[in-house]
């Protein structure tokens, strides 16, 4: 072979090896990098936000639902006339023009302008044909009944990790309601259009679970209306109503006033967010007598016909004088009369017969001093101190509900045991949980304790029916019905003493007495037209009771 041929041959071989090595470099050494680059060009990863679960009342109406809203964003690099765009957007969105201009002046491809924009506003912006503006669909919480049940539901707010439930049901059941985010992979062509072969490969997204409550929407609405009217009529600082089915522990309604709007919770004082029915401690006053008397009868230290030997006048304990609420005294009152007259001296007698150890034991069984376990975020309880830490005066005032702090839900739950053959149930708001795959998880009723026997419960019921029919609140009682109940007028402790002019007026009861459909506690905070429970809380109670007896089609029996 000539030299030229040989040279050409070697040159071709050299080129061959050169190309082969280059191919080896790109196809083997750089294979992973190029594959990743290719994937980033034609794969789109979309984060899928799960739909938050709804909260429904017992009739399956969505008390808390999700509403479509939009995040308005802009691409400043596509906007030619930034001033005109800022003018248009700020006037449609009702936002400060300076902040919109600030966003548009940023050197970015994407800037958020405003979130939570409704569909009508979005359409207005679209009609304005503003360049460089887009919309991202979002979901926000929506309350069709307005701010009804705000304390019960709580609200959803944003923190570093995304949206989160606070207070009430949103807080307690946040993990159930939240669901789980996922990722969708979509392959697109060079022009950004999706390709059929591997579309919407949705991975991992699980929508939140729905909560179905035991709350009856009609009962809740009625309670809210009556409470609001009552607070205004009696010119009180506020009020609360809790209604429970004593046989199951189902909460039928829970209202507190004043309240707040969950949709715009940031505009209200933070102090309003917590549900006072489960988070506020107060001295219950005479409503507490029901449990103490029940303890006395159950332990047989007193009977309904037992006569009170010390009820003829006020008594002195530890240097302090204990009087009745109206300074009237009934010598030789029976225990039935003691409850009817709400006689503090009679209650001190019952307490003395029980002894502090036995009394505290009964109160523990009634759930006093511990949380009830209700499924709402924010429940508190004040522990009952040990028997050795009760001075004689404290033990005496305990018997008529002063010198002890309870939450309204504790009191309602304890009292409801009398309406349920002596069995105390765990209160709960959620009756069932529905999963996205159509499964239902039922929350069954739970018996917590049996503080008193069924016989004692029956006896106490009759005593409480007598108290309603012949006591100071008898004028407000609806005719024809046997209702068991007890008034309460508790003075408010301020700086070491009790304010004589400020009270927490309350009424607790259940109806119909023979087969209770509901137990209810009404609290009026610092009424000014009258300080007494019989003249403020009791009328509200009976107004609501009348409505409920009609609603439940319960015929009169008297």
């Amino acid at each position: 072979m000539t030299a030229r041929l040989r040279f050409t041959f070697i040159f071709i071989i050299f080129c061959f090896f050169g190309i082969t090595s280059r191919l080896f470099y790109w196809q083997v050494v750089k294979a992973e990098d190029l594959s990743r680059l290719g994937q980033s060009q034609y794969d789109t990863f979309i984060k899928l936000t799960p739909k938050r679960g709804e909260i429904k009342t017992s009739d399956r109406f969505s008390l808390v639902a999700n509403k479509v809203s939009f995040l308005v964003f802009a691409n400043p690099k596509e906007i030619k006339d930034k001033k005109k765009t800022a003018d248009t957007l700020s006037s449609i969105l009702h936002t400060d023009i300076a902040s919109v201009s600030g966003f548009l002046s940023l050197d970015r491809f994407w800037v958020p302008i405003k979130s939570g924009v409704d569909n009508a506003t979005k359409q207005t912006i679209e009609q304005a044909k503003v360049d460089g503006v887009g919309f991202e669909q979002q979901s926000i919480r929506f309350y069709p009944e307005g701010s009804m049940s705000a304390h019960l539901t709580g609200f959803v707010g944003e923190d570093d990790g995304g949206f989160k439930g606070y207070f009430g049901l949103e807080g307690y059941y946040d993990r159930q309601l939240r669901g789980k985010a996922g990722i969708a992979v979509q392959i697109k062509d060079a022009l950004g259009r999706p390709i059929l072969s591997k579309m919407n490969d949705k991975t991992g997204v699980i929508d939140g679970r729905n909560l179905v409550l035991s709350i009856d929407r009609v009962v809740q609405f009625t309670a809210e209306k009556r409470l609001k009217d009552g607070v205004e009529k009696y010119q009180a600082a506020g009020g609360m109503v809790g209604i429970m089915d004593p046989k199951t522990g189902n909460i039928l309604a829970m209202v507190s006033y004043p309240s707040f709007d969950q949709q715009e919770f940031w505009k209200f004082d933070e102090g309003l967010y917590k549900n006072p029915f489960i988070s506020n401690l107060y001295e219950p006053g005479s409503t507490f007598k029901s449990m103490v008397m029940a303890a006395g009868i159950d332990s047989s230290v007193v009977k309904p016909e037992t006569k009170c030997p010390i009820c003829a006048k006020s008594i002195s304990i530890g240097g302090y004088e204990i009087r009745t609420w109206n300074d009237r005294y009934y010598p030789n009152s029976t225990m039935v009369d003691v409850i009817k007259h709400s006689d503090n001296i009679g209650m001190v007698y019952v307490g003395s017969q029980l002894g502090i150890n036995r009394l505290l034991s009964y109160l523990h069984k009634f759930g006093i001093g511990a949380q009830t376990g209700i499924d709402l975020q924010g429940e508190v309880a004040q522990e009952l101190r040990g028997a050795d830490r009760w001075y004689p005066l404290d033990a005496a005032t305990l018997t008529f509900g002063q010198g002890i702090s309870v939450t309204p839900i504790q009191l309602l739950d304890a009292f409801s045991a009398i309406a349920n053959d002596g069995k105390r149930m765990e209160p709960h708001v959620v009756a069932k949980i529905e999963t996205p795959d159509d499964q239902t998880i039922l929350i069954p009723p739970k018996v917590l304790e049996q503080p008193i026997s069924p016989t004692t419960a029956k006896v106490m019921t009759e005593i409480l029916v007598n108290a309603v029919s012949n006591g100071e609140a008898k004028w407000a009682k609806p005719k024809g019905y046997r209702i068991a109940g007890k008034t309460g007028t508790a003075q408010i402790p301020i700086a070491g003493h009790y304010d004589p002019n400020k009270t927490i007026a309350s009424f607790i009861g259940f109806a119909p007495a023979d087969n209770p459909k509901f137990a209810m506690l009404v609290i009026v905070d610092r009424p000014t037209t009258s300080i007494y429970g019989s003249e403020t809380a009791a009328p509200i109670f009976f107004d609501i009771a009348k409505d409920l007896l009609t609603y439940y089609s319960i015929s009169p029996t008297e």
């Binding site: 109406f61 969505s62 639902a65 999700n66 509403k67 479509v68 569909n119 669909q137 929506f142 069709p144 009944e145 307005g146 009804m148 697109k188 062509d189 259009r193 999706p194 390709i195 059929l196 579309m199 929407r217 009609v218 609405f221 609806p478 005719k479 024809g480 009348k546 009609t550 009169p556």
Partner: protein
């Protein structure tokens, strides 16, 4: 023998041509499915949005707050008094 190999070659070449044309045709028709898919997705999203907006309106109309305010507007009033019918006397009284 030579004729057979010529026929065989012709068949192979014809198959290659036919399948190539077929592949081009199928690939061509598939290439625009992305556009159709995009249109379908847009329609689904539009209907989904419309459903959500209608559901919101429905919930508001079904709410007790709305019903109570509408009832007051058209003249419904709260019943202030109730008539209670007591138990009736027995028809025959035992002497």
């Amino acid at each position: 023998m030579r004729k057979k190999s010529t026929v065989f070659m012709a068949i192979v070449i014809a198959s290659v041509v036919v399948f190539s044309i077929g592949q081009v045709a199928v690939a061509n028709s598939l290439s625009t499915t992305g556009i159709t898919l995009s249109k379908i997705e847009k329609e689904i999203n539009a209907y989904s949005l419309e459903n959500s907006l209608l559901k919101e309106k429905l919930l508001v109309k079904e709410s007790l707050q709305y019903i109570a305010s509408e009832a007051a507007t058209i003249g419904f009033a709260e019943v202030k008094s109730q008539i209670i019918i007591g138990s009736s006397l027995p028809i025959a009284i035992k002497p």
